[in-house]
Point group: C2
Chain length 463, copies 2
């Protein structure tokens, strides 16, 4: 039995090796190595990220800076020698933040660090002030009696969990998505939440929020975690806590921006392509280095490193999505426009989780594509990337509309997200938060992945 | 020779031991142990710090909160059972910050995180905007040609060094003390400096600054380090960088506040006392937890832990100084008022360097006091505190006027300051930055020190 098991194992491994070996020639594997090493040593992604975050800065969709970012991306894709560079229009609900300030008034006056959530309406020009009612969770707020918050400010103090894969985000973000609606249903005149954040620094984290037809819109805000602690301590000590709040924002109706796209054209199947990218827009508070300048810079650089060595069989397309932060509007436009030929996508991966090391690689493909996946994984291993065999990758947020409309071959190059939510959507998301060495590793991982997906014998497909 | 050297060494040690043993009885040493253990386990200092930073919050001298802090301190000293509690007036130049905002205008508009330095004048109501000229050091600015900054904003980008003893602060703070004066001499209309800070977070660090008679006053500000990096990158890349700036502050003339003092009265020499304390005021941006709520809370608690066990021979006096941040005004008033009897001070130590672990103990006393010092050091050793034998301690900032007016016996319980300047004088100086376990260790160290200094046979004195 033991011998037979061993024999089966050896045969299976040999067969697997043989199949894998057929996907890529020795020459191709040498090219992969060449690309990996070049990308691992190149400053290109760092230079691009530095330029975007310094010379353009924050990139809220529809702003002058957003227009500058589109021009920046187009110019740099052209300068990098992409075979085709073009833009595609995307529309979105345009929104601006003009002013935000707040104070704790009672029992002692002190500044309160908060920020308006995206899409929040303004307070009256002179602001508003009211008593704060504390809830530990969104569900606690939902369970509050009708009318119990009349004239008050609802405050949810839910603490996000820190983990490498950011699994704390989903549970925490519920209060951002619908907290203001639930608070308004109970009569609240404003909404505050603890930031969706793992940080203990005094930055408020913004992010998208939503209203619901038929429910009164109220100002929606997030407070910095130390301020959330302060509010909770005061309230739990039995004080009547009164806060004043002044938020000035504007809903500008439908805005327009552009997905910026660059492609290196494939030699055998030019219509087929690997889609990599990030989103070009950012929130207005920081300079969008981690979210998502890094994704923009490293996927641009990865494609360039491939093209420096060869044009693969299939095209490499870098898509820099517009208006992700306001609701994936660039991605929706892209996948709608390209609906008829989504099966040309042989692999898709978005980098939108900062730029800490890529520690794992995961696919979401049909069985016939798995030998290619395993060969890619083998070539990522020298970068310290482990292979996750679950074959159920989600990809980045801008791939959600793709997944919703077709069975696409989706990949995740999992970045270590342990610290990501310390900075996410804050003023503190600035260039210095990116480690140049880690950015190189990210770039190399994307380059290896994109080259091999584009150059494999088998055209990969989704489940 | 060898034998004789050994003999001398042994005799010296024995003599030294004998002398030390005479300073404290076995019973006294048992009491020291009891106090050390009680303080190491007590939450009292944490409770006091929590109450001060939460219920009072920021404590800029002269504000309503400053008045609340004085009332808070008096109430808590009384509640802790101090034998005497009183206040002593201190006057200071009162100053307020009302508004501060700034933007980089060119080459791309983006927020600039800065703060007015203490004592800064306002910009015009509508703000000002001008080109920024970069200097790496104060000396570079001083060397600039006369008139070369006419109509411009001077910006010094000096980077502070991180170290356990904060030795980077002195060199860095020169630009805060006199940068605005030097900039004005060259014709600048405003002054910006990189924060005196070791942090990479986007907080600007405020702090005292000065003008000079005969030199035009210009607005004086510090920018957060990531913003200083951004300005330097833009300027070094060859861009003409224009910044707009709006600072609204007010000089309110002479203000009044109070040193708050509590004393446990000594049994044999009640007029003689150990002085421990911190400063009650704080900057307005944070809640003054590290600077200096911790010093206030831990010295109050240390004295109480001693009194729970005994009244020592000499008094223990906790002095909570007023208006330190604006120029040691409480300390100046205290040591002036008590000028005639400063030789009653048998030991003085101020905690004003955060609340990371006390890692070392150092004296500044005459030779006759050294046996007491060594016995204290031996009783601090179980807390992980090493003895520094240099005998040249500086003590805290509020002891500077004492040192300047007399030869007082001064002590330093050196806190680990490696991270202190990440938070110092920022909005991020909040309760969560203090580790409750480390605060207990600090409290125990101060309690051991104060008890032994007050209860020693020898009255210690300065050099």
């Amino acid at each position: 039995m033991k011998f037979r098991s061993l024999l089966v194992a050896v045969l299976t491994m040999s067969l697997s090796s043989a199949l894998q070996a057929q996907e890529f020639s020795e020459q191709q594997l040498a090219q992969v190595k060449q690309v990996r090493e070049a990308a691992s040593q190149s400053n290109l992604s760092w230079q691009l990220l530095t330029s975007l975050t310094t010379e353009v800065g924050p990139r809220l969709p529809g702003t002058e800076n957003d227009k500058k970012a589109v021009a920046w991306a187009k110019k740099h894709l052209e300068q990098l020698g992409f075979d085709k560079v073009w833009v595609e229009e995307a529309t979105f609900p345009e929104w601006r933040r003009y002013h935000e300030s707040a104070k704790i008034l009672l029992p002692s006056e002190q500044p309160l660090h908060l920020t308006a959530l995206g899409n929040s309406i303004s307070t009256p020009t002179e602001g508003l002030s009211a008593e704060v009612v504390l809830f530990e969770t969104l569900d606690e707020l939902i369970a509050a009696p009708a009318g119990s918050l009349n004239g008050k400010i609802a405050f949810i103090n839910y603490r996000m969990n820190r983990d490498i894969d950011g699994n704390g985000y989903g549970p925490a973000v519920r209060a951002r998505n619908s907290g203001a609606v639930e608070a308004a249903k109970k009569g609240a005149i404003a909404y505050m939440m603890r930031s969706v954040s793992t940080s203990h620094h005094r930055f408020a984290h913004t992010g998208g929020s939503h209203y619901k037809t038929g429910v009164t819109k109220i100002p929606a805000t997030a407070v910095a975690n130390p301020d959330a602690d302060q509010l909770a301590r005061l309230i739990n000590a039995g004080h009547d806590v009164k806060v004043s709040l002044n938020i000035q924002t504007e809903d500008l109706g439908q805005g327009t921006s552009y997905n910026v796209i660059g492609e290196f054209t494939g030699t055998e199947f030019p219509a087929q392509y690997v889609l990599i990218g990030g989103h070009l827009d950012s929130w207005d508070l920081g300079t969008g280095a981690l979210d998502d300048g890094a994704g923009v810079a490293l996927t641009m650089a990865a494609a360039k490193h491939i093209a420096d060595v060869k044009r693969p069989k299939r095209s490499i397309r870098v898509v820099l999505f517009a208006a992700e932060e306001l609701g994936l509007w660039g991605a929706k436009a892209y996948f709608k426009k390209h609906k008829a030929d989504l099966d040309n996508i042989v692999a898709a991966a978005e980098s939108d989780f900062g730029a800490d090391v890529v520690y794992a690689f995961e696919s979401n493909v049909n069985a016939a594509s798995l030998p290619v996946v395993r060969e890619i994984a083998a070539q990522l291993a020298p970068l310290g990337v482990k292979y996750i065999g679950k074959n159920s990758a989600h990809g980045g947020p801008d791939l959600i509309p793709l997944k919703n409309s077709t069975s696409a071959p989706i990949f995740a190059l999992h970045q270590d997200g342990t610290d990501y939510f310390d900075y996410h959507h804050t003023a503190d998301d600035t260039l210095d938060k990116v480690d140049p060495a880690k950015l190189k590793q990210n770039t190399a991982a994307y380059a290896v992945f994109a080259l091999m997906a584009a150059d494999a014998k088998t055209k990969m497909a989704g489940k």
